[in-house]
Assembly symmetry: C2
Homo-oligomer: 193 residues x 2
Protein backbone atom coordinates (compact mmCIF):
# COMPACT_ATOMS: atom_id res chain seq x y z
CA UNK A 1 0.00 0.00 0.00
CA UNK A 2 2.64 2.52 1.14
CA UNK A 3 0.65 5.65 0.44
CA UNK A 4 2.54 8.32 -1.44
CA UNK A 5 3.38 11.18 0.83
CA UNK A 6 4.63 14.70 0.19
CA UNK A 7 7.66 16.24 1.78
CA UNK A 8 5.64 17.89 4.54
CA UNK A 9 3.84 14.65 5.34
CA UNK A 10 7.13 12.85 5.75
CA UNK A 11 8.42 15.60 7.98
CA UNK A 12 5.33 15.30 10.16
CA UNK A 13 5.74 11.55 10.60
CA UNK A 14 9.41 11.90 11.31
CA UNK A 15 8.79 14.58 13.92
CA UNK A 16 6.02 12.52 15.54
CA UNK A 17 8.16 9.40 15.71
CA UNK A 18 11.03 11.37 17.17
CA UNK A 19 8.78 12.91 19.80
CA UNK A 20 7.35 9.53 20.72
CA UNK A 21 10.78 7.95 21.02
CA UNK A 22 12.40 10.69 23.05
CA UNK A 23 9.58 11.96 25.24
CA UNK A 24 6.90 9.31 25.21
CA UNK A 25 3.30 9.18 24.15
CA UNK A 26 2.19 12.14 26.23
CA UNK A 27 4.46 14.40 24.18
CA UNK A 28 2.45 13.52 21.08
CA UNK A 29 0.32 16.61 20.80
CA UNK A 30 -0.88 18.04 17.52
CA UNK A 31 0.71 21.38 18.27
CA UNK A 32 4.08 19.97 19.21
CA UNK A 33 4.22 17.69 16.20
CA UNK A 34 3.28 20.53 13.90
CA UNK A 35 5.85 22.84 15.43
CA UNK A 36 8.58 20.22 15.14
CA UNK A 37 7.60 19.55 11.53
CA UNK A 38 7.54 23.23 10.70
CA UNK A 39 3.90 23.62 9.75
CA UNK A 40 0.63 24.58 11.34
CA UNK A 41 -1.69 22.16 13.09
CA UNK A 42 -3.86 22.04 10.01
CA UNK A 43 -1.07 20.27 8.19
CA UNK A 44 -1.87 17.19 10.27
CA UNK A 45 -5.57 17.42 9.58
CA UNK A 46 -5.35 17.85 5.82
CA UNK A 47 -2.91 14.95 5.49
CA UNK A 48 -3.84 12.51 8.24
CA UNK A 49 -7.31 13.54 9.32
CA UNK A 50 -6.16 14.43 12.81
CA UNK A 51 -4.03 13.15 15.61
CA UNK A 52 -5.23 9.57 15.43
CA UNK A 53 -4.24 9.38 11.79
CA UNK A 54 -0.66 10.22 12.70
CA UNK A 55 -0.69 7.83 15.64
CA UNK A 56 -1.93 5.12 13.33
CA UNK A 57 1.20 5.56 11.24
CA UNK A 58 3.35 5.26 14.35
CA UNK A 59 1.43 2.14 15.29
CA UNK A 60 2.25 0.69 11.89
CA UNK A 61 5.84 1.84 12.18
CA UNK A 62 6.15 -0.02 15.45
CA UNK A 63 5.00 -3.26 13.88
CA UNK A 64 7.35 -2.76 10.97
CA UNK A 65 10.24 -2.38 13.37
CA UNK A 66 9.14 -5.50 15.21
CA UNK A 67 9.00 -7.49 11.99
CA UNK A 68 12.33 -6.14 10.79
CA UNK A 69 13.90 -6.85 14.16
CA UNK A 70 12.88 -10.49 13.92
CA UNK A 71 13.88 -10.83 10.28
CA UNK A 72 17.39 -9.71 11.18
CA UNK A 73 18.86 -13.13 11.90
CA UNK A 74 18.86 -15.72 9.17
CA UNK A 75 17.55 -19.27 9.57
CA UNK A 76 19.99 -22.03 10.37
CA UNK A 77 19.41 -25.76 10.39
CA UNK A 78 18.16 -25.64 13.98
CA UNK A 79 14.58 -24.33 13.83
CA UNK A 80 14.10 -24.29 17.59
CA UNK A 81 17.25 -22.25 18.13
CA UNK A 82 16.08 -19.91 15.37
CA UNK A 83 12.74 -19.47 17.04
CA UNK A 84 14.38 -18.77 20.33
CA UNK A 85 16.62 -16.19 18.75
CA UNK A 86 13.56 -14.64 17.10
CA UNK A 87 11.91 -14.36 20.48
CA UNK A 88 14.98 -12.66 21.91
CA UNK A 89 14.96 -10.23 18.98
CA UNK A 90 11.31 -9.52 19.64
CA UNK A 91 12.16 -8.59 23.20
CA UNK A 92 15.16 -6.50 22.19
CA UNK A 93 13.20 -4.59 19.60
CA UNK A 94 10.27 -4.03 21.93
CA UNK A 95 12.53 -2.70 24.67
CA UNK A 96 14.48 -0.51 22.25
CA UNK A 97 11.17 0.94 21.05
CA UNK A 98 9.24 0.79 24.27
CA UNK A 99 7.26 3.96 23.69
CA UNK A 100 6.11 2.72 20.32
CA UNK A 101 5.31 -0.61 21.95
CA UNK A 102 3.11 1.08 24.52
CA UNK A 103 1.19 2.81 21.76
CA UNK A 104 0.72 -0.51 19.99
CA UNK A 105 -0.36 -2.58 22.96
CA UNK A 106 -0.69 -0.43 26.02
CA UNK A 107 -3.29 2.12 25.11
CA UNK A 108 -0.78 4.90 25.69
CA UNK A 109 -2.72 7.27 23.44
CA UNK A 110 -6.17 7.77 24.95
CA UNK A 111 -9.09 6.70 22.78
CA UNK A 112 -6.87 5.72 19.90
CA UNK A 113 -8.06 2.70 17.95
CA UNK A 114 -5.92 1.38 15.11
CA UNK A 115 -7.33 1.39 11.61
CA UNK A 116 -8.25 -1.87 9.91
CA UNK A 117 -5.16 -1.61 7.75
CA UNK A 118 -2.94 -1.29 10.80
CA UNK A 119 -4.70 -4.13 12.51
CA UNK A 120 -3.90 -6.29 9.52
CA UNK A 121 -0.28 -5.24 9.79
CA UNK A 122 -0.31 -6.53 13.34
CA UNK A 123 -1.59 -9.85 12.07
CA UNK A 124 1.10 -9.89 9.40
CA UNK A 125 3.70 -9.53 12.13
CA UNK A 126 2.08 -12.52 13.75
CA UNK A 127 2.41 -14.50 10.54
CA UNK A 128 6.15 -13.94 10.55
CA UNK A 129 6.35 -15.68 13.86
CA UNK A 130 4.08 -18.47 12.65
CA UNK A 131 6.58 -19.28 9.91
CA UNK A 132 9.32 -19.80 12.46
CA UNK A 133 7.08 -22.04 14.52
CA UNK A 134 5.96 -24.01 11.49
CA UNK A 135 9.57 -25.02 10.82
CA UNK A 136 9.64 -26.57 14.28
CA UNK A 137 6.40 -28.48 13.87
CA UNK A 138 7.36 -29.57 10.35
CA UNK A 139 10.57 -31.01 11.77
CA UNK A 140 8.51 -32.91 14.32
CA UNK A 141 10.00 -31.00 17.22
CA UNK A 142 6.83 -29.32 18.46
CA UNK A 143 3.41 -30.69 19.05
CA UNK A 144 0.27 -28.94 17.86
CA UNK A 145 -0.83 -26.47 15.23
CA UNK A 146 1.66 -23.70 14.34
CA UNK A 147 -1.08 -21.07 14.54
CA UNK A 148 -2.14 -22.07 18.00
CA UNK A 149 1.39 -22.49 19.25
CA UNK A 150 2.30 -19.07 17.95
CA UNK A 151 -0.57 -17.26 19.58
CA UNK A 152 0.21 -18.64 23.00
CA UNK A 153 3.93 -18.11 22.51
CA UNK A 154 3.34 -14.55 21.45
CA UNK A 155 1.01 -13.88 24.33
CA UNK A 156 3.51 -15.18 26.83
CA UNK A 157 6.41 -13.24 25.34
CA UNK A 158 4.29 -10.14 25.12
CA UNK A 159 3.34 -10.34 28.77
CA UNK A 160 6.92 -10.67 29.96
CA UNK A 161 8.03 -7.78 27.80
CA UNK A 162 5.12 -5.67 28.95
CA UNK A 163 5.84 -6.20 32.63
CA UNK A 164 9.45 -5.37 31.97
CA UNK A 165 8.55 -2.09 30.25
CA UNK A 166 6.14 -0.91 32.92
CA UNK A 167 8.67 -1.83 35.58
CA UNK A 168 6.77 -4.49 37.50
CA UNK A 169 9.43 -6.84 38.77
CA UNK A 170 8.43 -8.45 42.06
CA UNK A 171 11.65 -10.36 42.56
CA UNK A 172 13.97 -7.58 41.39
CA UNK A 173 15.48 -10.26 39.22
CA UNK A 174 17.29 -9.84 35.95
CA UNK A 175 14.61 -9.56 33.24
CA UNK A 176 16.84 -11.10 30.63
CA UNK A 177 17.40 -14.22 32.67
CA UNK A 178 13.71 -14.40 33.48
CA UNK A 179 12.90 -14.22 29.81
CA UNK A 180 15.28 -17.06 29.04
CA UNK A 181 13.79 -19.19 31.81
CA UNK A 182 10.34 -18.57 30.42
CA UNK A 183 11.44 -19.70 26.98
CA UNK A 184 12.92 -22.81 28.54
CA UNK A 185 9.61 -23.71 30.11
CA UNK A 186 7.57 -22.86 27.03
CA UNK A 187 9.78 -24.86 24.69
CA UNK A 188 9.81 -27.79 27.06
CA UNK A 189 6.04 -27.69 27.21
CA UNK A 190 5.78 -27.56 23.46
CA UNK A 191 8.32 -30.27 22.70
CA UNK A 192 7.00 -33.46 21.22
CA UNK A 193 7.26 -36.10 23.72
Amino acid sequence: MARTRDEQGRRILEAASELLSTEGASALSVRRIAAAAGCSTMGLYSRFGGKDGVVDELYAEGFERLVDGMKANLPTDDPVADLRRGAACYRDTALANSTHYMVMFGGAVPDFVPSDASHELAHAAFDGLVAKVARCTAAGLFEGSPDQITELLWGAIHGLVMLEIVGINPLMSDPGARFERALDVLFRGLARG
Copy 2:
Protein backbone atom coordinates in the same frame (compact mmCIF):
# COMPACT_ATOMS: atom_id res chain seq x y z
CA MET B 1 -2.64 0.94 55.90
CA ALA B 2 -6.21 1.71 54.81
CA ARG B 3 -6.12 5.45 55.39
CA THR B 4 -9.16 6.85 57.15
CA ARG B 5 -11.34 8.73 54.74
CA ASP B 6 -14.21 11.11 55.20
CA GLU B 7 -17.59 10.78 53.57
CA GLN B 8 -16.67 13.07 50.70
CA GLY B 9 -13.45 11.20 50.07
CA ARG B 10 -15.33 7.94 49.81
CA ARG B 11 -17.82 9.51 47.43
CA ILE B 12 -14.99 10.72 45.23
CA LEU B 13 -13.38 7.29 45.02
CA GLU B 14 -16.70 5.64 44.34
CA ALA B 15 -17.51 8.10 41.58
CA ALA B 16 -14.06 7.69 40.05
CA SER B 17 -14.26 3.91 40.10
CA GLU B 18 -17.71 4.01 38.57
CA LEU B 19 -16.54 6.35 35.82
CA LEU B 20 -13.55 4.14 35.07
CA SER B 21 -15.68 0.99 34.94
CA THR B 22 -18.44 2.38 32.77
CA GLU B 23 -16.65 4.79 30.46
CA GLY B 24 -12.97 3.91 30.59
CA ALA B 25 -9.84 5.73 31.60
CA SER B 26 -10.40 8.72 29.35
CA ALA B 27 -13.54 9.60 31.30
CA LEU B 28 -11.42 10.05 34.41
CA SER B 29 -11.21 13.83 34.49
CA VAL B 30 -10.97 15.86 37.64
CA ARG B 31 -14.04 17.85 36.70
CA ARG B 32 -16.19 14.83 35.92
CA ILE B 33 -15.17 12.99 39.07
CA ALA B 34 -15.87 16.05 41.18
CA ALA B 35 -19.24 16.59 39.54
CA ALA B 36 -20.22 12.95 40.04
CA ALA B 37 -19.09 13.11 43.67
CA GLY B 38 -20.97 16.34 44.29
CA CYS B 39 -18.06 18.60 45.16
CA SER B 40 -15.73 21.01 43.47
CA THR B 41 -12.48 20.06 41.82
CA MET B 42 -10.58 21.25 44.86
CA GLY B 43 -12.08 18.38 46.80
CA LEU B 44 -9.78 16.06 44.91
CA TYR B 45 -6.74 18.22 45.52
CA SER B 46 -7.23 18.66 49.25
CA ARG B 47 -7.82 14.93 49.78
CA PHE B 48 -5.71 13.19 47.16
CA GLY B 49 -3.26 15.80 45.98
CA GLY B 50 -4.62 15.76 42.45
CA LYS B 51 -5.78 13.42 39.77
CA ASP B 52 -2.90 10.99 40.14
CA GLY B 53 -3.71 10.51 43.80
CA VAL B 54 -7.18 9.34 42.89
CA VAL B 55 -5.88 7.14 40.10
CA ASP B 56 -3.46 5.59 42.54
CA GLU B 57 -6.40 4.48 44.65
CA LEU B 58 -8.04 2.93 41.60
CA TYR B 59 -4.77 1.20 40.81
CA ALA B 60 -4.77 -0.27 44.30
CA GLU B 61 -8.44 -1.17 44.00
CA GLY B 62 -7.68 -3.09 40.83
CA PHE B 63 -5.06 -5.19 42.57
CA GLU B 64 -7.38 -5.82 45.49
CA ARG B 65 -10.01 -7.12 43.10
CA LEU B 66 -7.42 -9.30 41.45
CA VAL B 67 -6.32 -10.75 44.77
CA ASP B 68 -9.90 -11.25 45.92
CA GLY B 69 -10.80 -12.87 42.63
CA MET B 70 -8.06 -15.44 43.07
CA LYS B 71 -8.79 -16.05 46.74
CA ALA B 72 -12.36 -16.94 45.84
CA ASN B 73 -11.84 -20.67 45.33
CA LEU B 74 -10.57 -22.70 48.21
CA PRO B 75 -7.62 -25.07 48.01
CA THR B 76 -8.27 -28.74 47.42
CA ASP B 77 -5.86 -31.66 47.58
CA ASP B 78 -4.78 -31.08 44.00
CA PRO B 79 -2.39 -28.12 44.00
CA VAL B 80 -1.93 -28.04 40.24
CA ALA B 81 -5.66 -27.95 39.63
CA ASP B 82 -5.92 -25.19 42.24
CA LEU B 83 -3.25 -23.18 40.49
CA ARG B 84 -4.97 -23.64 37.17
CA ARG B 85 -8.24 -22.50 38.66
CA GLY B 86 -6.45 -19.51 40.15
CA ALA B 87 -5.13 -18.60 36.73
CA ALA B 88 -8.61 -18.83 35.27
CA CYS B 89 -9.91 -16.57 38.04
CA TYR B 90 -7.13 -14.12 37.28
CA ARG B 91 -8.28 -13.96 33.69
CA ASP B 92 -11.95 -13.67 34.62
CA THR B 93 -11.29 -10.87 37.07
CA ALA B 94 -9.03 -9.01 34.67
CA LEU B 95 -11.61 -9.20 31.89
CA ALA B 96 -14.45 -8.20 34.20
CA ASN B 97 -12.38 -5.19 35.29
CA SER B 98 -10.61 -4.51 32.02
CA THR B 99 -10.56 -0.73 32.41
CA HIS B 100 -8.98 -1.02 35.82
CA TYR B 101 -6.56 -3.53 34.36
CA MET B 102 -5.50 -1.10 31.67
CA VAL B 103 -4.80 1.52 34.29
CA MET B 104 -2.72 -0.96 36.26
CA PHE B 105 -0.67 -2.35 33.38
CA GLY B 106 -1.43 -0.50 30.22
CA GLY B 107 -0.53 3.08 30.94
CA ALA B 108 -4.11 4.11 30.24
CA VAL B 109 -3.74 7.27 32.32
CA PRO B 110 -1.01 9.40 30.73
CA ASP B 111 2.01 10.12 32.90
CA PHE B 112 0.56 8.27 35.87
CA VAL B 113 3.11 6.43 37.97
CA PRO B 114 1.91 4.35 40.92
CA SER B 115 3.07 5.29 44.39
CA ASP B 116 5.50 3.09 46.24
CA ALA B 117 2.69 1.83 48.44
CA SER B 118 0.67 0.79 45.42
CA HIS B 119 3.67 -0.82 43.85
CA GLU B 120 4.06 -2.93 46.96
CA LEU B 121 0.44 -3.90 46.70
CA ALA B 122 1.16 -5.20 43.23
CA HIS B 123 3.94 -7.29 44.66
CA ALA B 124 1.63 -8.56 47.36
CA ALA B 125 -0.73 -9.75 44.68
CA PHE B 126 2.21 -11.57 43.19
CA ASP B 127 2.90 -13.25 46.52
CA GLY B 128 -0.58 -14.70 46.56
CA LEU B 129 0.20 -16.47 43.35
CA VAL B 130 3.55 -17.62 44.69
CA ALA B 131 1.79 -19.43 47.51
CA LYS B 132 -0.24 -21.45 45.04
CA VAL B 133 2.86 -22.33 43.07
CA ALA B 134 4.79 -23.26 46.20
CA ARG B 135 2.23 -25.92 46.99
CA CYS B 136 3.00 -27.50 43.62
CA THR B 137 6.75 -27.44 44.10
CA ALA B 138 6.45 -28.65 47.68
CA ALA B 139 4.48 -31.63 46.41
CA GLY B 140 7.25 -32.33 43.94
CA LEU B 141 5.02 -31.64 40.96
CA PHE B 142 6.91 -28.63 39.58
CA GLU B 143 10.55 -28.08 39.01
CA GLY B 144 12.32 -24.88 40.04
CA SER B 145 11.93 -22.05 42.49
CA PRO B 146 8.35 -20.91 43.25
CA ASP B 147 9.34 -17.27 42.86
CA GLN B 148 10.83 -17.76 39.45
CA ILE B 149 8.05 -20.02 38.29
CA THR B 150 5.48 -17.50 39.39
CA GLU B 151 7.02 -14.57 37.61
CA LEU B 152 7.12 -16.35 34.29
CA LEU B 153 3.67 -17.78 34.81
CA TRP B 154 2.31 -14.38 35.65
CA GLY B 155 4.01 -12.77 32.67
CA ALA B 156 2.58 -15.33 30.31
CA ILE B 157 -0.92 -15.07 31.73
CA HIS B 158 -0.73 -11.32 31.73
CA GLY B 159 0.26 -11.22 28.08
CA LEU B 160 -2.59 -13.42 26.97
CA VAL B 161 -5.09 -11.40 28.99
CA MET B 162 -3.68 -8.16 27.67
CA LEU B 163 -3.94 -9.20 24.03
CA GLU B 164 -7.48 -10.31 24.72
CA ILE B 165 -8.42 -6.95 26.21
CA VAL B 166 -6.92 -4.85 23.44
CA GLY B 167 -8.59 -7.10 20.88
CA ILE B 168 -5.56 -8.50 19.08
CA ASN B 169 -6.60 -11.96 18.00
CA PRO B 170 -4.87 -13.02 14.79
CA LEU B 171 -6.62 -16.35 14.47
CA MET B 172 -10.04 -15.10 15.51
CA SER B 173 -10.00 -18.05 17.86
CA ASP B 174 -11.81 -18.44 21.14
CA PRO B 175 -9.71 -16.64 23.76
CA GLY B 176 -10.87 -18.96 26.51
CA ALA B 177 -9.70 -22.05 24.66
CA ARG B 178 -6.43 -20.35 23.79
CA PHE B 179 -5.90 -19.54 27.44
CA GLU B 180 -6.48 -23.15 28.42
CA ARG B 181 -4.06 -24.36 25.76
CA ALA B 182 -1.45 -21.96 27.05
CA LEU B 183 -1.87 -23.30 30.57
CA ASP B 184 -1.49 -26.82 29.23
CA VAL B 185 1.83 -25.96 27.66
CA LEU B 186 3.08 -24.01 30.64
CA PHE B 187 2.19 -26.71 33.13
CA ARG B 188 3.71 -29.37 30.96
CA GLY B 189 6.89 -27.34 30.73
CA LEU B 190 6.97 -26.87 34.47
CA ALA B 191 6.21 -30.46 35.42
CA ARG B 192 8.95 -32.37 37.14
CA GLY B 193 10.66 -35.07 35.14
